[in-house]
Symmetry: C2
Subunit: 438 residues, 2 copies
Amino acid sequence: MGFVVGGLALCGLSITPASAIEIQRVESPGGIEAWLVEDYTVPIVAMEFSFEGGTTQDPADKLGVTSLLSIMLDEGAGELDSQAFQQKLEDLTMSLSFSAGRDNFYGSFKTLSANKDETTDLLKLALTDPRFDAQPLERMKAKTIAGIERALKRPDSVAALAFTKELFPEHPYGWPRSGTVESVSNLTSADLEAQHTKIFARDGLKIGVVGAISAEDLSPLLDKVFGELPEAGSLTQIEEVEPATGVVKHLPFDTPQTSIQFAMPGLKRDDPQFMEAFVANHILGGGTFSSWLYNEVREERGLAYSVGSYLVPRDHTALWMGYTGTAGEKAPEAVEIITDQIKRLTKEGPSPKELQEAKAYLTGSYALSFDSSSSIANQLVGIQNANLGIDYINERNDLIENVTLEGVKAAAQNLLSGVEPSVITVGPFGAEQTDPIQ
Amino acid sequence: MGFVVGGLALCGLSITPASAIEIQRVESPGGIEAWLVEDYTVPIVAMEFSFEGGTTQDPADKLGVTSLLSIMLDEGAGELDSQAFQQKLEDLTMSLSFSAGRDNFYGSFKTLSANKDETTDLLKLALTDPRFDAQPLERMKAKTIAGIERALKRPDSVAALAFTKELFPEHPYGWPRSGTVESVSNLTSADLEAQHTKIFARDGLKIGVVGAISAEDLSPLLDKVFGELPEAGSLTQIEEVEPATGVVKHLPFDTPQTSIQFAMPGLKRDDPQFMEAFVANHILGGGTFSSWLYNEVREERGLAYSVGSYLVPRDHTALWMGYTGTAGEKAPEAVEIITDQIKRLTKEGPSPKELQEAKAYLTGSYALSFDSSSSIANQLVGIQNANLGIDYINERNDLIENVTLEGVKAAAQNLLSGVEPSVITVGPFGAEQTDPIQ
């Protein structure tokens, strides 16, 4: 979900933050680029970065290896074993974490500016010389397996896993990101090392930095931290793929609440119609209190507490997804309403008032997601990964304002005309039990 | 836990953020004071505020009313019903939430600076003219009751509820903060109105503001939002109380993992020995990877995944608490180790190296908790509530640096000599089943 959230936030800037957020492009002597926002309100520095290649880079017989790598990188490096490494993080009051998305591997680092030399030494060590010792490896495998087993008891995660497989039956996007109990059990430190070599390289690296540091001070640190990584990794080429449409699947599950997820084709982030689709989604299911799905499913019929939809632009595919959860006997009705609202979007489209409200919300809300140094740095990385340009933040509101009623309807028709959504339901579905009085 | 977290963070500033964080005292024409940090990095304004009086102000036959009030204040006000109010929050892209602590009632507000006139209109309406309509009231009561019922299925929350009652058997601090299923079921809109009148007043109000706003612009907004509240509420006076010591209680519970919580007397925030006790706690159980409890319980014996302790300074009492969770058959050993480490603190005290490391961590880590506008505003409110003065942020590191080995030991002896900790365990305890071979 990290990627989805990033994608949403990325598409929400406004109130001409141009005047407020000043982004510098910093290039190190060694040629490593970072985007920097200087901010001296508090003496800390936040850095977010991403490498090209995520869980789709798992070898087919080593599912979960990239996710496991992401939680092993702070479990010892260089001379420091797990305990010593964690102690050092604490001594330097730095925070460091990694996560694996489908297309990218993300890192998040925060330090007191006064400690930046020592903390970046440790960051470099974690990136270039991780240890993967036996004991922490076993602990993290056990933790991962426990997480997989827990997820198999929750209808929403069961739905997500099964749906992913249905949507991409022959493609790495269909794999479970954390792997399976069996695949994780078999992972070794050699597998982690191989995956590390595959992904950690300079050519797909994107960096965002926010805080109490100047371009002059940041520049040499970039070379220190990232300069010794190889120019290129050894990424497997991922095929382009379309999500399966018209798949309808029900998995019975012993729970009162039925989890419903649906999916249609979406648009990639660089598609010229992306903003139109983005506004269309807001009207369908993106707004908390004003979307069609919210009104029809929750307000009008009281079928569910939460319902929504969102765009999922990926590097090699694009989805338009949604979810709700309802009592089992109401599930068929909820599915029907959702399908009707999707059709309504291609047929009648939104009203002028709905479009205007959607634009007002989308242009207004972006700035609120920029309220911490880490979240600003995260946006800088997202904008680079989507290749939107350093001026995107200043231009983005105009792009939203320029969306027309015709444009929204055209994007919806382009994506949805003649397309049946795929739907998965997990839980009870309808009146499955016969009447006991009979 | 909100208060605990605030208390911890409050006690962690350093790296002379004096030079970085500039706090202005703003007084409105109507005499309302706020502390302001101007920050124009992004065009948003965050405000945090608190009223005196929290869940201890519940009437004894209306437990949970203050908590319920905190989730009802964005469910309609003035002319706006729940749905219209929520829609307006969304239209103005503002965020607004409330929470009830034991001693204080907290509010959190965030807005685009461009919308500050309209959003503060809505904030004022929520504070001064809330509606408490029947339908949202029933929904929120049902939500609260579901939460209470869920908590009764988790050993850690069962332990917390029962322990609170044991520690303060005759005092409002012993009450469940959300109330009981029965008490919440009986709450009415008249109860909420009475509680609102009781607590919402100007005399105990503390305000922190961070963001793109000048003192000149903030000043009239303070009068608009808070100026019509009465000068004083009608708070019930809360008696001073000491937590019960030496209480040992076990509640059998059908779960593999046993929840263990312990408590000793602590110090109030304005006690001259507070910083010594704060450092003592860090060494006992406050540090993630270096505390005695962590080393003994987790590293040496592998009894638990998490173990820790923390100070809980309140307005009318003070606690020093801790927790762990372990397999039922290991619970007696874990309790013994914890008790031994507490005794060790009064007898031998920490080593010079341990003291130095604790100081380095505590002085270093505070600034990291100042990384968002809301968290800075929250600190400003906390410092005002603890009456530490507007220069506290600049002075705080020196206070930590001045703590001596003798001071730490004296504080521990003062609090713990001759005192038996209270301990509650929920789950299986030891080898309760007889050997089936016999």
